[in-house]
């Protein structure tokens, strides 16, 4: 995950998450998986929105959903919360902690 959200501005939120599926993008359950990843970061109601209408924290959460959707075994975080305000950062840290517990992902973050 990058310091910036790096969402495709010309794709809806849901397609942006599908990008994270890599080679499995063409599989039949791609959309369902992307939707469940959005539920995980609490943005399932934004699936049809353009990235431009999201706030900074919401964009970063979409980027997180994109990173998680393929159930990766290693996640590298390059200060993904650096550009967020204090309150959003705290809620994102909680979100990351919860996801870490739920998925048992092993992480190598630059974000302490």
């Amino acid at each position: 995950m990058f310091q910036e959200p790096r969402l495709l501005p010309w794709a809806r939120v849901l397609s942006n998450v599908e990008v994270g599926l890599g080679r499995e993008r063409a599989s039949a359950d791609a959309q369902a998986r992307a939707e469940s990843a959005l539920v995980e970061v609490g943005l399932d109601d934004k699936r049809g929105q353009w990235p431009a209408v999201l706030s900074g924290g919401q964009k970063q959460r979409v980027a997180l959903a994109r990173a998680l959707v393929s159930r990766p075994r290693v996640l590298a975080f390059d200060e993904p919360l650096g550009a967020l305000d204090a309150l959003t950062r705290i809620s994102m840290q909680r979100l990351l902690e919860r996801v870490w517990h739920d998925q048992g992902v092993y992480r190598d973050p630059g974000d302490a």
């Binding site: 990058f2 310091q3 910036e4 790096r6 495709l8 010309w10 794709a11 990008v19 994270g20 599926l21 890599g22 080679r23 993008r25 994109r66 075994r73 290693v74 590298a76 390059d78 200060e79 870490w100 048992g104 992902v105 092993y106 992480r107 190598d108 973050p109 630059g110 974000d111 302490a112």
Partner: protein, 339 residues
């Protein structure tokens, strides 16, 4: 002001109305429109194709870009005598001039658009395993579209300019022809009626020239070099044995059974020895040693600009690593359940 110099707007409107009633205006507009569209499609299509090829392929760019940039500086209207020699005075000469005129704005802007797609998005696409085709379809092409449309807008202006000038030389129909006929018979009101688009086209041409100058400056200032080649080199450094990091290739090249490979990939650990990286004279990383066993949570802390992001980019394979005495291995380790 005498009507010989500039007729009153009412006279122009009246002339327009008369020509409209006689059907002459509509017929000439239609003929010009047809020539303009066909010429635009031919020239724009070729310009678009060259723009794509030269934006995506270094080889193609080296072979043709310089030549095209050279030809671009020849005013295409100055070629009219030659074009008459080559194509005669029938339709093909006019189509050729229009096609030549619209070729360059579309070519330049397509090329510029593709080369200036946000490199961060390209990096993102690579990380998430997009193939070249997907990267083009989902990232590069949509990113270049705004610039391509700018090219189309400039080309539309040039299209009318070229056509009307071309029609003043040798034609028996079209807006330019109508203006010429009117001049012959001193029908100033008809000349003015035929030419508002001509004046607009001149304005567009001036803008295009200003813009083309700006585009050249950007192209010359050393755009991010071939990111793709850089990434391929990085991959080769990271996995000297494997050409690709695709799972199927991994199984094949490492001569493992699928189950062994899965176990290996699941318990992923990371070992780095003596990692170096400099940008020019600025040495950012000097001999980094790092071992992360599987299941470990590691935080990298440091002041701004100390190379944290660089380290992560090197690990992700987005940047080539300096020197050959480094070792960066994705090794095998027993899986730990994290809690």
């Amino acid at each position: 002001m005498p009507a010989r110099v500039l007729p009153a707007p009412s006279d122009v409107a009246l002339a327009g109305w008369k020509l409209l009633l006689s059907g002459e205006l509509a017929r000439n507009i239609w003929v010009s429109f047809w020539r303009a569209s066909v010429g635009f499609l031919i020239g724009g299509g070729i310009g678009f194709a060259f723009g794509l090829a030269n934006g995506l392929s270094q080889l193609s760019s080296k072979l043709t870009d310089t030549t095209l940039q050279m030809v671009r500086n020849i005013p295409h209207l100055a070629l009219i005598p030659l074009v008459i020699l080559w194509f005669g005075i029938d339709e093909s000469a006019k189509l050729f001039l229009v096609a030549l005129g619209v070729f360059f704005p579309i070519y330049l802007n397509t090329l510029h658009g593709i080369r200036t797609v946000d490199p961060q998005l390209i990096e993102m696409g690579r990380i998430y395993g997009m193939t070249d085709g997907e990267l083009f379809r989902r990232v590069i092409f949509p990113g270049a579209l705004p610039s391509i449309f700018v090219g189309v807008r400039f080309a539309l202006g040039i299209m009318w300019l070229t056509l009307i000038v071309a029609e003043t030389i040798a034609a028996s129909s079209g807006l330019g022809y109508m203006a010429m006929q009117a001049r012959e018979f001193m029908l100033i009101d008809v000349v003015v009626l035929s030419h508002p688009d001509l004046r607009l086209a001149r304005k567009a041409r001036r803008q295009r020239l200003a813009r083309a100058g700006a585009a050249d400056a950007v192209l010359a200032s050393g755009l991010p070099e071939t990111l793709r080649i850089e990434m391929q080199e990085a991959l080769r450094f990271l996995c000297p044995d494997a050409e690709a990091v695709d799972r199927a290739d991994f199984v094949k090249q490492a001569r493992l059974s699928r189950r062994d490979a899965d176990a290996l990939l699941r318990g992923l650990s990371l070992t780095i020895r003596g990692l170096r990286k400099s940008f020019g004279d600025n040495e950012v990383l000097r001999g980094i040693d790092l071992h992360i066993p599987a299941g470990q949570f590691v935080a990298i802390v440091g002041r701004s600009g100390c190379g944290k992001s660089t380290l992560l980019r090197l690990i992700a394979g987005l940047r080539p690593i300096d020197g050959r005495h480094h070792q960066l291995r994705r090794g095998h380790a027993r899986r730990k359940t994290s809690a």
